[in-house]
Symmetry: C2
Subunit: 390 residues, 2 copies
């Protein structure tokens, strides 16, 4: 495919201003005087600060969204240069790592400045979140900002982040195009006799060649009659005739992920695999046709699961899809227990899985965006028939 | 380079048994009845559970090391198949994500089973750690295991993990060899006129071709008279004659990282860049010659910093090196404030940096292992003179 150009990079400040305004609106409704963010995705979302340096666990990074006004970055000085290239202007730094005070007093002072004495600070503490700073330091911050309280703000972040702007959707679509082009090249490097780890390596190379900035996730499996799981790294076992090969990727382009997979039969597609693939394809068609704003995640799960059963297949336990965008997976989870409302411009992975035999599964995945009256595919639709690698 | 073979994969159970015994020894000294681990590196360290699926923030994963006996995995059922392929036999699963109880009651029940009522559970809470589970769920676990206390166990994990076994050192050396081979190929794809983002992409492809399982980190910079920082992703600006180009990588092979960089002059090496490179090279020589077990991280920092000053250079603020292995960077940090004792078989990145002009720096990095009487290079030594890309 043609290389995408630089003009698809980043966002104008208005995009971030809109995000912050949406957060501040929900913060006001929730009675929050500030929001404290610590994870790569949350920090990237409000600032545009994009770096792979999060891979180093050495330093915590903080962004504070006050109830009014622009975000404040409280970060290690090593990141000041890059943060200054974002729209953020209030950047406070310390020399990290600092064993006695790793940003704790600077963070606490900033929170005390921004939040009234009896005010509330929101922090994402709920499902699919974590606090990316040492827990002992968090305890110190709690003490230093008292009597201010720190309360859960998961819903504030989730309700804003889960609805994607058109600019974000464009970026996820670009990431999907990269993966589409790489999946189209799988027959070039996968086939009987090729070790699975070589296939994984070549797939990552293809993703980079097709325009991924980096490849944060590749997984898959290969076995006869279905693979055992969908999260394993590759071993060196050569692909065998009649194997089902699955490759799954989270390729990243400009900070946004795709997350979808493709299945292939090696040499010859056995009946059970073809039937499973057909059921997965049909259930995905049903989900894409049915999904609408106002439906819950649990309802969409029921639709996918029901479609698999109607095809005579046994749905996998566990979720049958999820959100995505700034991370490989985002809430909601398509399970019977997740009653999150699906909303217009949410991006989802529709991911039906079937158990072919005990411990043998096949999984199918597409990325879509929920529009008012239909679902729009972001990945190119898989072929209806299980493709055979010859 | 020749592709490494499958026989370099994984560890025998004895390796993990040794790790757990070392942890249990320190746990006993610290009065801990169990250790609770939640991060990819800590879980991989005691179990061998290696997956890129941590990229999905949706699910927490737990491993408990009891004071006696083998580790217990308390994990989402999606990981059971892969965990069963490790040496761990006690694997307890729940169907995650579960909005009402995402492993909380199973984790608490396991901790209550393993830890006496007035016992202590250790959890890494200190510098360079974080808790990879929702903070609200951690609060619930705290309540459910009471009167058992959860206390900081950073030192227990750090003192054991920081000393590498010969098998681990071999894996880090293998990762370094991958990067060595990729750095040797930089002249093939970097030179005047080539956009920096294309260079980053080709460098990642080269790392994969040379044997990286995946590329968790690439950063760098390119500018005349030194780059602005060392953590930025690439932009599309073409390399210019007289630029200094730096590429830095954390390539991963079998779960272990290398972390070193290389500098290049584009077309022609200006005097200031050549002088800076010579000072960096000399300071690294001095550090490699001087580092010994029993020295502190702060002392090694002083040696590197002093050597730069002796060369007439201005050392960068911030750390001048760090540990590495299971993550891109590990403690200790070579700063004036980190008094961690350097020990035999610790693996370090020696990373002097100099400020050439305000906001213009150059950084040099090698990976070594500290032996009883000398330092052993794991990366191939950079050339003494700044190489020129013609």
């Amino acid at each position: 495919m043609e290389r995408m150009t630089e003009c698809d990079r980043g966002f104008p400040p208005a995009e971030y201003q809109g995000r912050v305004a949406a957060l501040q609106h929900r913060m006001t409704l929730a009675g929050l005087d500030a929001l404290l963010l610590t994870t790569p995705a949350d920090v990237f979302y409000v600032t545009g600060f994009l770096t792979r340096f999060w891979e180093s666990p050495a330093r915590p990074w903080f962004v504070i969204v006050p109830a009014d006004g622009d975000p404040i970055a409280v970060i290690p000085s090593i990141g000041a240069d890059l943060m200054r290239r974002t729209w953020v202007t209030d950047i406070r730094t310390w020399d990290a790592p600092h064993p006695a005070d790793d940003g704790v007093s600077l963070l606490a002072a900033t929170l005390r400045e921004v939040v009234p004495e009896h005010g509330k600070i929101g922090l994402p503490m709920g499902a699919e979140t974590h606090l990316r700073m040492p827990l002992a330091d968090y305890g110190s911050v709690l003490n230093m900002v008292a009597p201010r309280a720190i309360v859960d703000a998961t819903a504030v972040m989730h309700r804003v982040r889960e609805v994607k702007s058109e600019a974000e959707i464009r970026k996820i679509r670009n990431a999907c195009r990269v993966a589409d082009a790489a999946f189209a090249r799988v027959p070039e490097f996968a086939g009987a006799g090729r070790p699975l780890d070589e296939v994984f390596r070549d797939f990552q190379i293809a993703l980079l060649q097709e325009g991924a900035d980096w490849v944060s996730y590749v997984a898959g499996g290969a076995a006869r009659g279905g693979y055992g799981d969908v999260i394993s790294p590759a071993d060196a076992r050569p692909l065998q005739p009649n194997d089902v090969l699955m490759l799954d990727t989270g390729a990243v382009r400009d900070g946004y992920f795709c997350d979808f997979n493709r299945n292939f039969a090696v040499g010859h597609a056995e009946d059970a695999a073809r039937r499973a693939h057909a059921a997965l394809f049909a259930a995905t068609e049903t989900a894409i046709a049915a999904v609408r704003p106002g439906m819950s995640a649990a309802e969409l799960h029921r639709i996918i699961s029901g479609a698999l059963v109607a095809e005579g297949a046994t749905p996998c336990a566990g979720r049958l899809g999820h959100g995505l965008g700034l991370t490989l997976t985002e809430w909601p989870s398509l399970t019977p227990l997740d009653h999150t409302l699906l909303r217009e411009d949410m991006v989802l992975a529709i991911e039906p899985g079937v158990e072919i035999a005990p411990g043998r599964i096949m999984v199918h995945e597409e990325n879509i965006v929920i529009r008012a009256t239909h679902a729009e595919l972001l990945s190119s639709r898989a072929s209806a028939n299980l493709p055979v690698l010859t």
